[in-house]
Symmetry: C2
Subunit: 253 residues, 2 copies
């Protein structure tokens, strides 16, 4: 039996990135697409429980139904795996995101929110992101890497409970050097809010920020990306800081 | 100088839980409150960047400004620390949430989203949650534990980069036995979506779910809570599954 992929993203079904992912996945197996009908970026692991979800179906891909949902990417995975997949998916694929989800961006990312939601359910999952925000980003150089990582995930049996955070660089010379498995760089966004005043005299605040990262050791995702490699960070849904347990026990119990 | 606390939550400023937290914190230091004006539960680490934020100020607490924001709890922490705190806060406090954020709930929780956002910025932070969803939950039995944990976090210098996930049980006999430092239980929500049809013949889907947890060893938060203890899980913003790095290197590089 061909493998079954459940596919979602956070830029919405209209984005170029998910169209590329669908094309690659269809070569390798059967697909079910359950995607947000609109852009749902930066929603992280948000979930909709206070209102019902609406879904409409389009059939623009041959032999494949596409479900467009008015919820978040996490909702798409939950609803898709439960209600719209004919069998348990072999792999959940999210992306390809327009823009980086490396380093600390994984916290805000709904591309990775969807992948981690699959992991919670024991489904192996991969979130793909390209380091180019533009709507018409060129995904073609990514295609061989995306294909290869999906194939290896099936062959090598990527464990459920974990999700791969895959980021793809856009080297200035156009040549991606290979793949590096890494840890997440420690970094932060240093924000400043630009205060403006509306025509009625009331203030409003625009988020602006700079990504600051000093943690670029050779085992990090930032190093890999800056040096022209695709970065793969295996990620977990266990947030426990095990290294702190003993100190905190001593201080608080 | 008295310590400065930045306070937020995800149930909105009108909730009983944040009022309790404000009362306890005011005994121990100066406070700045930046809270969502409405309920913002289950928004996880969501962030607002595609529209500006609106803030309005109320002055209902003596010597203290309260800022109500139309964004997410993560926005409240970012904007609050950057624009509304007179100095760098000594501790960021989030909650007290109405409902559990133990175990896997930490992923969906915007109470913990706010605390983890502080951690990203190097600010020590605590998210408090009571295991009672009801709007008129009784927070009084929590008060001595909340006070004690805040005091210890100042005295023992809880490191920035980490956030404590504190959950408070509601034992049937009313007696909380003490405090346990734990790891996050492995668990999941097993969803089913209830399909209904609206008066116009179109389907919609309500999320329903059961919390399933087999991981109740004595070092877990679920064990602590089921046995009448307050659970404290130190949490990290590094999602790397370090235990998988070698396997994934072998399989993918």
């Amino acid at each position: 039996m061909r493998p079954l992929f459940l596919i979602t993203n956070d830029d919405g079904y209209g984005a170029k990135g998910i169209q590329t992912l669908i094309r690659v996945a269809r070569e390798l197996g059967d697909i079910v697409v359950v995607a947000p009908e609109r852009n749902a970026s930066a929603l992280s692991h948000s979930l909709t429980s206070s209102r019902p979800l609406r879904v409409h179906t389009i059939s623009e891909i041959e032999d494949c139904k596409v479900y467009l949902c008015d919820g978040t990417p996490v909702d798409c995975v939950k609803l898709g795996a439960e209600n719209f997949c004919p069998r348990r998916p072999d792999l959940v694929l999210s992306g390809i995101n327009h823009g980086s989800n490396s380093s600390i961006n994984v916290l805000y990312s709904a591309t990775m929110g969807a992948a981690l939601e699959a992991a919670v359910s024991g489904l192996p999952a991969i979130g793909f992101s390209l380091l180019d925000f533009s709507p018409d980003a060129d995904f073609e150089p990514s295609v061989p890497f995306v294909r290869d990582i999906i194939k290896k995930s099936l062959e090598k049996e990527l464990p459920g409970k974990y999700a791969l955070n895959v980021n793809i660089p856009v080297p200035t010379d156009g040549k991606i050097k290979g793949v590096r498995v890494c840890r997440q760089s420690q970094a932060r966004w240093v924000e400043s809010y630009e205060r403006r005043v509306d025509p009625h005299g009331r203030p409003y605040y625009w988020l602006t920020g700079n990504f600051e990262c000093d943690d670029i050791a050779e085992d990090t995702d930032q190093w890999a990306l800056q040096n022209g490699y695709v970065s793969i960070v295996p990620t977990t849904t266990d947030f426990t800081a095990m290294n702190l347990i003993e100190k905190i026990k001593k201080d608080y119990e």
